[in-house]
Structure formats: structure tokens, C-alpha cells
Assembly symmetry: C2
């Protein structure tokens, strides 16, 4: 069977997608690549090559650019992708990173957002909400630093959530494991804008409704602890926080047995008929319409 090329592109803009006052450049480089690899993975494709465009403000030093590239190369190695080219130019504004990733997939096998059927099971990889809480921690430390530059950052106890924000991983491992398990998802998307927004995308493209059960949403302990401290609802962080870069996908009911014991895949609900709403089912059994309400960068 032939192979198809898939391609994704992404712009990361200073002041919109990242804040250089708390993003180390090496992490930023890694994240820029990971985000694009994640997009390719979400088609069940294998990323192969990457091109990078950088628009650099005059204040950037050669060392800064090297740090950024070091992070990008690290991610390229981690995901087995070749950095094949790029374009560098000056910027009158902030730093802009443009990445385009190519991937390969067996012809006709790329997973899209539109293949979902009622009764298909909604699954998510990893855990959710951490990246958003990491951002809260970083923003708080930034404010503390601005108020008193002698403050030492207190990030240790937030390692997990800060890491989720600054250096997310693309779940290429899940793509490989699904292939090995013989599971071909009917839809897939990566979670960049929050679970709610992504479920709505899949349902709109597939012409279905959905039921997502709040009690099934995977939340890691450090996320729950940070949420408690910041007085934030961890469910809202999972639904609307975004930037977790986990995979959301649907599989036919018949494949449920193949994934149900997977330690890193959680069933969170299922698709329903077109006429049905896209609902969150609370612990108390109430159905609340899902809304993409938060934290969308654009």
C-alpha cells in the first residue's frame, strides 16, 4: 500500500502563546516541536520532517538562538524527526516561531475529526488540566518577582504542573500502542485548547452529540493539589485549560476490550446521535452543555 504525506503548521507568537520571562528558550524550542509532532500524531501518522521559520527581535543574541535550536533538536531526536530546513529573519515585534511538520501514513489511513459514529467510545490519553495549573504557578511567581526581584521562585512542589506547561510531550507513544493493539480510532485530535473545545470539534465534524462524564476525567494528584491551593475547580482546568497536548479519540465499542486495561488511556464518555447535545454529565447526574469558553489563545 502507498504512503500519504500529511502536513501541519503552527505559529507560536511571543506575548500570545508564550512569555519569555518564564519560558526557558530550550524548553520553548522543545515545546514548539512537540506541539507540531502532536498535531501529526493526532492523525495517527508518523512525523518525519520539520521545517522551522524564526522571526527574531534585534535583542536576541546568537546564544539565545542556539538555546532555542538546542531545544528543537532535542525534541527532534526524541520523536525521530529530521529538521530539514528553515528560514530566519528579523522581527520588528516579538519572537515568532513557525513550524511545519510532515508525516507519513498508509494511504487512506489518516484519522480525521469527522469519522465518529454514535456509540463510539471517547478516550483520552494521560491526564488533563496540569498545563493550565502550571501556567497559574508561573504567573504567580512572575508577579512575586516583579513585586520583589529578590524573591526566590518556589517551583519545586509544582514540578509536575510546571513541566506540563513548559515542556509538554507529544503522545506519539500512544499512536504506536494503538497501532500495536490493532485499534484504529474513528476520530482523533490533540488537546491544545482544552477538552471541551476539542470534544465540540470532533462532534461538529462527525455530526454527533456526546456525553462526557466529569467523574471519569483523568486528573493527576499534583494537578488536584495545585487546584486546591489556587482555589480552582480541577474539572474546569481539564475542560478549558488547554495545552495538555494529550490525545482525544474515539473508537468503536467493539474495540473497548483492547484498550480498557491500558494504564494511560481513560474512557471519558461516548458519542451520541446527531440530535443530542454535547453534554457534560456531572457526578450528581446532571447534564450540562459543554462550552468552549476558556483560555483560547485566539
Amino acid at each position: 500500500a502507498g504512503q500519504e504525506v500529511v502536513v501541519t503548521t503552527d505559529l507560536l507568537v511571543e506575548g500570545v502563546h508564550f512569555d519569555l520571562s518564564f519560558s526557558p528558550l530550550k524548553h520553548l524550542g522543545f515545546k514548539a516541536v512537540a506541539v507540531n509532532v502532536s498535531d501529526v500524531a493526532a492523525m495517527m501518522a508518523t512525523p518525519t520532517q520539520l521545517v522551522v521559520g524564526l522571526s527574531l527581535p534585534p535583542r536576541f543574541t546568537v546564544e539565545a538562538v542556539q538555546e532555542l535550536y538546542a531545544g528543537m533538536r532535542l525534541a527532534c531526536e526524541a520523536y525521530g524527526v529530521d529538521l530539514v530546513g528553515g528560514d530566519t529573519t528579523s522581527s520588528r515585534g516579538g519572537l515568532v516561531i513557525s513550524i511545519t511538520a510532515l508525516g507519513m501514513v498508509a494511504a487512506g489511513q489518516a484519522v480525521r475529526r469527522s469519522g465518529g459514529k454514535p456509540t463510539d467510545i471517547l478516550c483520552v490519553s494521560g491526564d488533563l488540566g496540569g498545563a493550565y495549573l502550571g501556567l497559574q504557578v508561573l504567573e504567580r511567581e512572575k508577579q512575586a518577582f516583579l513585586a520583589d526581584p529578590d524573591t526566590q521562585p518556589e517551583l519545586d512542589s509544582y514540578d509536575y504542573v510546571v513541566q506540563r506547561q513548559l515542556r509538554p510531550e507529544a503522545r506519539l507513544d500512544i499512536v504506536h500502542e494503538l497501532r500495536e493493539l490493532g485499534v484504529h480510532p474513528t476520530t482523533m485530535i490533540d488537546i491544545s485548547d482544552g477538552l471541551a473545545s476539542e470534544v465540540l470539534h470532533l462532534c461538529a465534524a462527525s455530526g454527533t452529540g456526546a456525553r462526557v462524564f466529569s467523574e471519569y476525567l483523568p486528573l493527576a494528584n499534583p494537578t488536584l493539589e495545585a487546584a486546591a491551593e489556587f482555589n480552582l475547580d480541577p474539572i474546569m482546568a481539564a475542560l478549558n485549560g488547554g495545552e495538555d497536548y494529550e490525545l482525544l479519540f474515539t473508537i468503536p465499542v467493539a474495540d473497548h476490550a483492547k484498550i480498557k486495561n491500558h494504564p494511560d488511556i481513560t474512557v471519558i464518555g461516548h458519542l451520541t446521535e446527531h440530535d443530542d447535545a454535547v453534554n457534560l454529565i456531572t457526578k450528581a447526574g446532571q447534564a450540562v452543555p459543554l462550552q468552549a469558553q476558556g483560555f483560547n489563545h485566539f
Copy 2:
């Protein structure tokens, strides 16, 4: 024989690569695509798909974005390329357009910059220096407008050079014709930074010297007229002006007969041994080292 995918990427940054006070958005969209198609063409590959990233300042209206896209679509139709996706985000600075183009070429047949041999003939398509003079005209009109907003722009007599600046064409036609003539260039590059800079690139990559004859440089009449009016040396405009997006390429001496009667290809010199310099030979027969000295955006 199998096909290979080639990929090129390019960032166009407001205030660095274009000035919205005189670039109509539709032309800018066209140019952004043409520049990338030109890059693919310069590998003797056929452009197939394009992805676009836009970083939009808040002042941009929906209509403005539509104009930009209309220009991009026009170019995609002109060059037979599919616009297959993109990313749109906000910008804290100016407009940034990121384009990545994919192309196909028979495996092993992509033309690189490194294949040149001493005695290979240096050729260029079209004519040179026009885009630079177009920019001079536009800058002058902008200053006149800033001094007196009631001034009517006087662009009619500069149609050709202004067009060269605002709406360059990718020379995909030359690629097709070379294929039909059975000419396989040993090196090729498109002229974005000026002939001098591109000749130096080819020579550095191929490990050769070169002789470029100033009297052979193709200069169009409107370019000569504008140069006279602006008191600029048209040879310097051709060498260092840039943005003409013509193709510079080398062919083996044996292929000279195949191109010598082509109305749109000019022989401008030849490659020499590694130890030789890269020289411009003046009308008087003097050898002057070529330097990439001008107008380089970065």
C-alpha cells in the same frame, strides 16, 4: 522511478519584508505564495501543496484577511498548488506570513546548489533589477504622500518595475521548458537577495569560482529608464537589488545549444576552478570581485 518530496519555508514580516502602506494585501498574498513556489521551482521540482500561517495584528479586519487570502488563492491557481491548511493566530507586533510549500520531484533529480563544475555555463531567466527600482518608485511616492497627502501617485510610467516589486512571478514556466528541452541544470537558485549574493551561494556550495560578464546582464528597458531617472547604476540594481525571483542556474557546456535561442534565458558567464575568484568582468575587461553587499533583509 519514485518521487521525492521537497519542502521550503519562508517568513514574511511586516516592516522587514513588506510595507503595508504601499503593498496591496491581494498582491502581498500573491507574492507570499509566488516566493515559495519560486523556491520549489529552483530545485526543478513541481510545487504541489502549501500551508499558511498568519499572525494577525488586532487592527486587521476580516476583509483585510480575505484580501490576503484572495491573493494567495489566485497564486495557488496560477501555479497549480493546493492550499491545504494553516494556522491563524493574533500578533502583538506586525503581520507575519509564514508559508511552507511542498513539491514533488523524481527521486534523486532535485537540483541543488552544490552540483556546479568549472566550465558550466551560468544562465539567468528573465531580466534583473526591476524589483529594486520598483521599490525606489514606491518609496518615493510614499514620501511624497507623507509630505502632502493630496498628491496623486504617479506610477503609470513605472508599471513594469512596480509590478516586479509588488507581484513577482515564480518561474515555473522555465522549469517546465528546461525539462522539455532535456536540460538538467547542475545547480539552481532563485534570485531573492540579488544576483551577486546568489552567484556566491552557488560557487560556495559547488566549490568553484565564476566569471559574470556585466554586459550580458539582462536589463529591461523600463528598468534602464527608471535607473536613469533615479541616478542609479542598473548593473548594481541587478547585482544587489534582489527580489526579482528569476532563476539563476548552471548547465554543462554540452547543453549550450539547447538553450542559446531561448528568448527568456540569458547566458551571463561561467563557473571556473576552485582557486579562482568569483568575479564580475566589466565592459572594459576588468575583473572585480563580486560582493553580496546590498539590500539583504537580514
